[in-house]
């Protein structure tokens, strides 16, 4: 699962990189949490990487979603609302998978 999450997060990091360099870079940093997790031999530590990485993805995905929702207030200022980019969409999808990982991680 760490590998799947790494690939998904790295993909959204690369896609975000074109819109916002720093945001993309830090999402790539988060993907490293999963990558390091792939090399953990102890089961508990493997799970720890998956759990923490998923929480971090949730933060970033949550931020993207909140920013998107808040932008619906922008017409009040005479501006267009924000549109979701492909990077945002992949990030939010990773966020949904992360919810499952966090839920399972807490139970264990």
């Amino acid at each position: 699962m760490n590998l799947v999450m790494f690939l998904l997060t790295a993909l959204s990091g690369i896609l975000e990189f074109w819109n916002d360099r720093l945001l993309g870079f830090f999402i790539l940093v988060i993907s490293l949490v999963f990558l390091f997790g792939c090399f953990e031999k102890q089961r508990e530590r493997y799970r720890a990487h998956l759990f923490v990485g998923s929480v971090l993805v949730l933060f970033f995905a949550g931020f993207s979603l909140i920013s998107y929702l808040v932008s619906f207030l922008m017409p009040l200022l005479g501006e267009e609302p924000k549109s979701l980019t492909l990077g945002d969409a992949v990030l939010v999808s990773s966020g949904f998978i992360s919810i499952l990982n966090v839920y399972r991680g807490r139970r264990k």
């Binding site: 945001l23 830090f26 940093v29 390091f36 102890q42 970033f60 931020f63 909140i66 807490r106």
Partner: protein
């Protein structure tokens, strides 16, 4: 270790007194403030200590006809008189002012709290042990036998949860019940073994008077273990000098015996139903304090915080700005263009409103920081940063103080009291003003939105990173200049990770954010009135013929190398009072509304290009601390020399750094 012997319980009614003073004592991060809030509700207020300006909280609640004042003392791991917090807590306990002490301990990790408890027990004070986070202990499968704890420690024990409210009524009942009795309820005599007891007896036999007012046995033990205060007092009262080796050996033995007792007590009273290889906190720590990941993850968190502060909050700021602009326009429409409408619209609404529009950004910043602090991440950040801080002659403890500077430099300077080493404390005080406080945020946001609309969040992040860098480099420089010393090691108990509760987040955000609102209603309001007056008269609205113009033009020589106009120079001059005033000054002097970015860009663009604008921000980031911070530095260092040093040094750094940015930026743009 021999078992604890319980003394006589003398009980008598406390007549004629319906008031009780309760002191909350405990290690940092055990949930002391949460318990304080749960007990006192909304009646809490923040007061200063007499003589010293440590922030303590005092709240009141009524229970069974008693008016109970609760004093939340600074969190401390021991009562050794090394740091200011330890001194204040111990002096207060020994003063006899509190009728009762509630030792707040952590249900899950009670070791250090019990250590603190034993010390207070030896002071022969009435004490109740309140073990907090009982709900978490239960969730973790920990069973606590409070009667077993009571039996061994000789003090009443209550298991409480500030979140669920469990045990709170029991604690209140106990406070009332104990306060209605006289004398020490549980006189405990810890037996330290024949050799140590003999030494204590010898000292007691030679003890003629007690200058501090502590129990003789406690005084003797403190003297033998070389406690700074008690040892000096003992020498004055005629007791012989002890070798350093003897004092250290006694202190170690004392601590060892107490630890043994605590270990035995916990073994008897605690039962854990499950044995996990890694707890949730340990699992999270495995990643967040990882050798390679910890630093980049810390910066990722910080970036997200600033992105959240700038981007998400910005829509709300713009809406507020629009409201203030419309209000101003409406007033001018109704009253016509005259001095009164100008005062109302340009002075009051534009001056205060231009600052108030940043309230959402500031509250969002505190909300994000509160989340990190409440979750337990920030102490880890201090732990992670300790490795870097050591290179700059600081410790992770300084980092914790410095982080507070993101909110307000005054609290950052005051929080240095927990730093034991006086040199490290002084250096931390002197570098604290470089941490970019929330008052500077409105200035950054105003200029970034006007000149760098597409890279605002990234540049905001870079300004904050630069402020951390300047802070650390300044520490190295000041250390090199005056001390050439080493930093003290960081000893910190890492709290468990918790999901922040809504109530705690609200309290954190509101308590810090209201400071900004208060300033807007006082200093900034007064400053706006003063600036409007100076800008309106004597030219009747013509800025170029105003008092402000005369002052600004007289000061332009200071910023000649930057080619700043008199208006920009004047805004920096006014900003010395409080940094937010820079925003009020700019909007009044240039007469624009922030919401009209194009207008603002065209007006400011005549005198500033992007390089000059960023140079201006770098200057604002580093230049002299506001008046409140300067006053706090003076009261904390008690030295005019260090206060002046702080002002001149920060001005020098700001000037040199922005000149460097201006020159390099100019070269880059021209090429």
């Amino acid at each position: 270790m021999r078992p604890v012997r319980h003394g006589l319980c003398q009980v008598a009614d406390k007549k004629g007194s319906g008031e009780v003073r309760v002191a909350l004592v405990g290690c940092p991060n055990v949930g002391k403030t949460s318990l304080f809030n749960a007990l006192t509700g909304s009646k809490q207020y923040v007061a200063n200590w007499p003589g010293v300006t440590v922030e303590k909280k005092e709240g009141v609640f009524l229970h069974k006809g008693f008016r109970i004042s609760v004093i939340d003392l600074p969190g401390t791991y021991a009562l050794d008189y090394n740091s200011l917090d330890e001194k204040i807590t111990r002096d207060y306990i020994l003063s006899g002012e509190p009728d009762l002490i509630v030792l707040v301990g952590d249900s899950v990790n009670p070791e250090q709290s019990l250590y603190l408890l034993l010390e207070i027990v030896e002071m022969e004070k009435k004490v109740i042990l309140a073990l907090t986070a009982y709900d978490e202990a239960k969730k973790m499968g920990i069973k606590i036998d409070k009667y077993e704890l009571q039996k061994h420690l000789g003090v009443p024990v209550v298991l409480v949860s500030s979140i669920t409210g469990e045990g709170l009524e029991e604690l209140k009942d106990l406070i009332v019940d104990y306060s209605a009795r006289k004398g020490v309820l549980h006189k405990v005599h810890l037996d330290y073994g024949e050799a140590m007891e003999k030494r204590i007896r010898e000292v007691l036999n030679n003890l003629t008077d007690l200058p501090i007012g502590a129990p003789p046995r406690y005084f003797a033990m403190k003297y033998l273990s070389g406690d700074t205060q008690f040892y000096q007092e003992a020498l004055k009262s005629g007791l012989p000098e002890l070798s350093e080796e003897e004092r250290i050996a006694f202190k170690i033995s004392l601590s060892k015996k107490k630890r043994e007792l605590i270990e035995n007590v916990i073994k008897e009273a605690y039962q854990s139903s499950e044995e996990k290889v890694l707890s949730l906190s340990e699992a999270i720590d495995h990643v967040l304090t990882h050798k390679f990941l910890s630093f980049p993850l810390f910066f990722a968190f910080m970036y997200l915080v600033f992105k959240f502060t700038f981007e998400t909050a910005q829509v709300f700021s713009d809406l507020l700005d629009l409201a203030f602009t419309n209000l101003g326009n409406l007033l001018v429409e109704r009253l016509g263009e005259n001095a009164i409408s100008s005062f109302m619209a340009d002075g009051l609404i534009s001056g205060v409103g231009s600052v108030l529009t940043f309230v959402p950004n500031i509250f969002f910043l505190f909300l994000a920081m509160g989340f990190l602090e409440e979750s337990g991440y920030l102490p880890r950040a201090a732990f992670v940063m300790d490795r870097i801080m050591e290179k700059f002659k600081l410790s992770g403890r300084s980092f914790m103080s410095l982080l507070l500077g993101f909110g307000c430099n005054v609290s950052s300077v005051m929080s240095t009291r927990v730093i034991d080493d006086p040199k490290e404390r002084l250096v931390t005080i002197l570098i604290s003003p470089f941490m970019s406080c929330s008052a500077r945020l409105p200035v950054y946001l105003l200029i970034l939105r006007i000149f760098f609309p597409h890279a605002s969040a990234a540049l905001l992040f870079s300004l904050y990173t630069l402020s951390i860098l300047i802070t650390l480099l300044s520490s190295s420089f000041i250390n090199w200049l005056f001390y050439r010393g080493r930093s003290s090691p960081l000893i910190i108990e890492l709290p468990r990770y918790r999901f922040p509760t809504f109530r705690n987040l609200y309290l954190y955000t509101w308590n810090r954010g209201k400071h900004f609102l208060k300033k807007a209603g006082t200093i900034i309001l007064l400053a706006s009135i003063a600036i409007w007056f100076l800008t309106y008269f004597p030219g009747n609205g013509n800025v170029e013929e105003s008092f402000s113009a005369s002052i600004g033009k007289a000061l332009t020589w200071i910023f000649k190398p930057f080619d700043y106009s008199w208006k920009i120079t004047l805004s920096l001059f006014y900003g010395a009072v409080a940094k937010e005033v820079i925003v009020s000054s700019i909007t009044m002097l240039y007469n624009f509304d922030e919401v009209e970015l194009e207008t603002a860009r065209s007006v400011l663009g005549l005198e500033m290009d992007p390089v000059k604008a960023f140079t201006f921000l770098v200057f604002v980031m580093a230049y002299i601390p506001c008046i409140a911070t300067v006053a706090t530095i003076y009261s904390e260092t008690n030295s005019l020399k260090w206060t002046l040093f702080s002002v001149l040094y920060s001005f020098g750094i700001a000037y040199s750094l922005s000149l460097l940015v201006y020159k390099i930026g100019g070269l880059v743009v021209r090429s």
